[in-house]
Structure formats: C-alpha cells, structure tokens
C-alpha cells in the first residue's frame, strides 16, 4: 500500500525529501483508492505560501472532493501540470508520476511530525 523511504501525514499525503529543503508531495495509494476515479485536480500556483496544515488544493473524484494539505510550512516551487490533462495519473501512479506539488520548507523541524512507513501502515490498520 505505501512505500519505503517516504514520509507520511495524518491526512494521507506522502512526502519525499529532495535537495535544498524541497519536498515533493502527493497522496498515498490508500487515499486514491478511497476517492475512486479521480477526474479533476485544482493545482496551486507557484509562489503561493502555506502554513503547515493549510488546504493547498482540491482533488475531485466522481462523487467526492478531497483537500491536499501542506505537510510543512513553505512556498510552492513546482507543480505537476500533467495532472491537468491526465488526473487519472493520481490513481495509476500515486507515488510516481502522480506527484502533485513541490514545496520549499521554511522550518525543517516540522519534518519530525511526519510518520515513517511503519507508523503510517499501523495507522491505516486502525
């Protein structure tokens, strides 16, 4: 269900650490399967700033809407605009080509609040 080497949030986002305080963010396989066929992604704008826990953007399936939250505080530095034309990538490759945005974090300490694979999986089991 989830993948080694990533960090996870309570609200089912995965976080991958890249260089220079930049994090890549997406939703987990569990999240996409709960939502069902994803049909629309409302991407954030590059340069927007968010506090940890803010709603960054919305993902819509046929009969549900989900909010993607900022896993840490920071500024959006990249978005995956492939999702605009092909939102199904979120269903098909949630951990790879289905990434959503990259955020440059302002406070690396916040990473400590994220879960590792084991913690996330045990959360899912509850």
């Amino acid at each position: 269900m989830a993948r080694e080497g990533l960090m996870y949030t309570d609200s089912d986002e995965w976080v991958q650490k890249k260089d220079n305080n930049i994090l890549r963010v997406g939703i987990t396989d569990h999240a996409q399967s709960e939502l069902g066929d994803i049909v629309y992604v409302d991407l954030p704008e590059i340069g927007e700033e968010y506090d940890k826990g803010d709603d960054v953007n919305e993902i819509e399936s046929v009969k549900a809407v989900a909010e993607v939250k900022a896993p840490v505080s920071g500024k959006i530095v990249a978005i995956n605009d492939q999702l605009e034309d092909d939102p199904a990538l979120l269903n098909e490759e949630p951990f790879d080509n289905g990434w959503i945005f990259e955020i440059e974090m302002t406070d690396p300490d916040q990473l400590e609040n994220l879960m590792d694979l084991e913690e996330y999986e045990s959360k899912l089991e509850e």
Binding site: Y40, E60, S61, V62, K63, A64, V65
Partner: protein
C-alpha cells in the same frame, strides 16, 4: 379515503410480528410534552367525487385567460401549447420518477435532459446549460452569485430597464452577502449608455441586462458589452426564449451567462408556477455553476448512456461549499419545454416569434393612432410587448376594459412609480386581428366616453 393499503388484520399481524400491541407503541420515543393530543382539531377526509366537486367549484371562482382576451405579459404569456406537451408530461414514467440517481433505470430522464441542454444552448448560443432552476427570477439570482464567484468581485450593475420584481428576488437571494447593487438609469426605454459608462469599472462582477427589457424594447447587447472595462466582468443576459426565436443569440453578442423564464416554452400560466428557470453559460465557468448537469458517456459494454456529472459542485457532496443549495428543481417543466421546442422545431419557433412580432406591431400601430394614446418610446425597436402612454386614469380604463372582456395589460406605475399613464401590452401568436381590432375600438370608445 386514504392511500394506504393496510387491512386491519395486516396491521395487527405486522404489529405483533414486531412485538407491539398497538400503533401507539411506535411513537413511545416522542416525549409527552412534544405530543399532539387535540384530536378535535383534525378534520375528516372525503371522497374523490366530493373533492372533484369542491375543486371544480373553487376553480370556477377564478377568471382565466380563456374568460378574458389576454394582452397581459410582464414575464408570463398566454401562448399556444401543442397537445403533444401535456401527453408527454402526463406519462407516469416521467412525472412519477425522481432525480435520476440510478442512471441504469433513468436513461429516459437523463437522455431527455441532455437533449434539453442542447436545445437551450442552441437557443442562447451558449456552451453548457443546466437541468433547470426554479424560475426565471431565481435563475437570475443564481447567475449573479455565480458571477461573483467567478470574478471574485461584488459590484452588480443593474439597468432600471430590468424587471424590478425580478430584481427584488435577486436582492433577497443576496441578503447577507457583500453584493453591492449599482443602478443604471433608463433613457427612452432602454439602458442609458452614458450612465452605464459612468457606473462601470474594473470592480464590477456582473452587468445584468434583460433582452428584450421590461418595456419590451430590444437592448443593444453588443453596445453594452463594448462598455465593459475589465475582462473579469461577467455579462449576464436574461432573455425571453420566444424572442430568441427571432433575435440574435446573446452568446453571439458577448454574454457569459444567459438565463430566463421558460414558461413560454409550453408551460401553462398556473398563476406563476410551476415555471422553468433556464440557465446557460460558457464552458470555462462550469465548475462554478449551480444546478444539475447531465453528460454523455458509455456503459461497460460501450453502449451510449447518460449520467449526472460535475456532481462535486452540488450540495449533496460539497455541502457548505456547494455552488448552490438547489436539490429538487423543475425537472418535469424541462420535459414540457423540450417537447414544445421539438414540436415547433426550427421553423415553428421562428414562426411563433414572427407572428408575435407582427401582431404586436399591428396593434401598436392601430392603438397609437387613437387620440389620447402616444407611443411611449417611439424610436426604439421592440419585439412583442410595448408601452403606450394613455391620457386617462389607467385604473379606470383597465376596469372598464375588463368588463368588456379584456385583460388590457400591466400598469407600469406599480413597478415604476415615476411612470404615469403607461401601459405595457403583450401580444402573442394566439391573438387574432379580429380580437385586436375590437380591442382597439373598445379602447377608442372608452377614451371618447
């Protein structure tokens, strides 16, 4: 008479299977203080025959457009409704179904709505239409809300030549919002372009225009649109659907949202409802739009089929963030409208519009030849409704004309206190030369008398 099939034996059998002795026990969870005990207030029912009689008696106390010859419009019109319309909407398959939540057994309703959406788009020149709002006025209100959401602005520019009754509905819908209404003066029966230029700026969410307007005059949509200063400002046109059988489409003249009162599309007058709010707009705004939308797709065997789509906008999914709270709409009235538009078809709608235009202009010419009657707005183009200025007490004139068997029109003073002696007259394809000639001669006699 009661519409529950239970025999007393069955009631007992069902109760005892539940372990109860009386119906009372089904209501044990209701606290005593909240119980209603005054049986004496509850009246008895009666038979179908007696109810028919009672209702017939009540109905005969009303005077209808069959008792009078009707020249009254103002948003609701006495038009011919082909027989097909009532035969289709009387089919229980249409009128006893509900919202097509289960598409596999609702393809009739769903395909119909897809066809209806197509017809409304063709009528208005728009890309997308929804499956109805409650009526024209509420459709206009929803259009304003949508325009505010799309533009993220709050100023609404409204010409005085837009029906004040409908504007009142819009204002009620927006109570508690930050909408700011800016009125544009009227000049010679149409929007005052200088005033419009003064009032319009980059902060405007929407400019509203009625087409033709509340005096029957065809506003120049293109010229209005030319005054816009910001690309964000939405042009909301409230159009008469029969006039669209003749006039250029608002979509070709720069409108972003086109709404209207669909009563004229095969729906009886019924004292103002049920009517039909039609609602159409440009595709790029679809996610901010209110109401139900049907889309084409296929089933798992590749067969064409139709489903409700963009449901994530609606209250049952998005709840407090929904684009509107509408749930039950005017579904059956869309069937009436589709059957009406299909029965008349391409040529018939044009012919209805054309006859209405010609008859209205005939009556206008005849009336304004009478001494004491003036053209209120002489150089403006109108469609099938017009204003005359009569040198008399209009209330008395109306009273006398009703005695002669006519509904002579609407006294504009009720809506426009500053307008004295002006009468708004509507002529549909139903009126004949004979009816109009005698209408003219009666008015002549009364004015002389």
């Amino acid at each position: 008479m009661a519409y529950y099939p239970h025999t007393s034996e069955e009631i007992e059998e069902m109760l005892s299977s539940l372990g109860y002795e009386s119906i009372e026990e089904l209501f044990e969870d209701i606290p005593k203080e909240a119980r209603f005990n005054d049986e004496s207030l509850l009246n008895e029912g009666t038979s179908e025959l007696e109810v028919s009689k009672l209702m017939k008696e009540l109905s005969e106390k009303n005077k209808t457009v069959d008792d009078y010859i009707c020249f009254m419009g103002g948003g609701a019109y006495d038009r011919y409704i082909p027989s097909t319309v009532d035969h289709v909407i009387s089919r229980p398959e249409f009128y006893t179904a509900y919202t097509p939540y289960q598409p596999e057994v609702s393809q009739g309703t769903l395909q119909h709505i897809y066809e209806y959406q197509t017809m409304i788009c063709r009528l208005t020149g728009m890309d997308v239409a929804n499956a109805s709002m409650y009526d024209g006025a509420s459709a206009l209100a929803e259009a304003v809300i949508m325009a505010m959401n799309v533009s993220r602005k709050n100023k609404i520019v409204v010409p005085k030549s837009l029906n004040p009754y409908w504007l009142r509905v819009v204002k009620t819908y927006l109570l508690g919002s930050d909408a700011e209404f800016v009125m544009v003066e009227e000049k010679n029966g149409e929007i005052d372009y200088c005033d419009l230029e003064d009032k319009i700026d980059d902060d405007v969410a929407a400019v509203l225009t009625q087409y033709p307007n509340s005096f029957g005059i065809v506003e120049n949509l293109k010229e209005i649109k030319d005054k816009f200063t910001s690309k964000k400002t939405m042009f909301v046109v409230m159009a008469d659907p029969i006039a669209l059988g003749l006039l250029k489409k608002p979509g070709d003249l720069g409108a972003d949202i086109v709404v209207g009162e669909g009563q004229q599309l095969g729906i009886p007058l019924s004292f103002g409802g049920p009517y039909l709010g039609y609602f159409a707009f440009r595709k790029k705004y679809v996610r901010k739009s209110p109401g139900r939308i049907i889309g084409k797709t296929e089933d798992k065997e590749g067969k064409r089929g139709f489903v409700m789509t963009y449901q994530t906008r609606e209250q049952h999914i998005r709840r407090e963030k929904a684009t509107s709270n509408i749930c039950t709409n005017q579904g059956l009235m869309t069937v009436a409208a589709s059957v009406y538009m299909s029965t008349l078809g391409k040529q018939g709608l044009r012919e209805v519009a054309e006859q209405s235009y010609k008859k209205a202009h005939y009556l206008f010419n005849e009336l304004t030849r009478i001494d004491g009657i003036k053209k209120a707005y002489p150089d403006k183009p109108f469609f099938d409704e017009f204003v005359i200025e009569v040198n008399t007490d209009l209330n008395k004139l109306k009273y006398k004309m009703k005695k002669e068997g006519y509904l002579p029109g609407i006294i504009l003073k009720h809506q426009y206190p500053e307008k004295d002696n002006q009468l708004l007259i509507a002529v549909t394809e139903k009126r004949t030369k004979e009816e109009m000639d005698s209408f003219v001669s009666k008015i002549k006699t009364i004015l002389k008398g």
